[in-house]
Amino acid sequence: GQQVMQIPQYQHVQEGEDFTTYCNSSTTLSNIQWYKQRPGGHPVFLIQLVKSGEVKKQKRLTFQFGEAKKNSSLHITATQTTDVGTYFCPARVSSGNTGKLIFGQGTTLQVKP
């Protein structure tokens, strides 16, 4: 079935270091969304990318959608302890207009102060 693989599964960085997580799909995606879940919290929608090659920024976060629309990345510049959490890039199920998303395990980021 439709699935997005996310790497790495875990990442530990020193505060101030950069961090990148990647999502890869074997099929072309219509769009990709990114969510963040803080420890003990619920997933929170961050952004959606739709266009081939699209790049969007939110402060220190840079989101990219690949030219072939099969991969995406999230880059965090100069991590802070507030960046700790799990980042998900679910794939939207293309059959029917149900908005179903298939979440993987995400990438869990730990930041050492």
Binding site: N31, H42, P43, P90, G99, I102, F103
Partner: protein, 112 residues
């Protein structure tokens, strides 16, 4: 945060007992979803609804049923709880295109 609440927030129950979790929204969104989250498995879709009385199964629907008699409420029922259903359950809502989802605070269910 979107107007979405879940009740109860915590529950401990015994194996074999029925359990109902409630998701309530004030956003008048059409789509509602139930997920469970377990270590090592990320978020997995249990059931979803695309309108009042319109529901369908997700990836891990066995042992669960749902009902949606009103736009604002989506109920998840475990007919006979088992220890494997110990998990954190999240409800989410979406208003349609582009289908971004907004999650409730979660319910931590422990089945002993």
């Amino acid at each position: 945060d979107a107007g979405i609440t879940q009740s109860p927030r915590h529950k401990v129950t015994e194996t074999g007992t029925p359990v109902t979790l409630r998701c309530h929204q004030t956003e008048n969104h059409r789509y509602m979803y139930w997920y469970r989250q377990d270590p090592g498995h990320g978020l997995r879709l249990i059931h979803y609804s695309y309108g009042v009385k319109d529901t369908d199964k997700g990836e891990v629907s066995d042992g669960y049923s749902v009902s949606r008699s009103k736009t604002e409420d989506f109920l998840l029922t475990l007919e006979s709880a088992t220890s494997s259903q110990t998990s954190v359950y999240f409800c989410a809502i979406s208003g349609g295109l582009p289908y971004e989802q907004y999650f409730g605070p979660g319910t931590r269910l422990t089945v002993t």
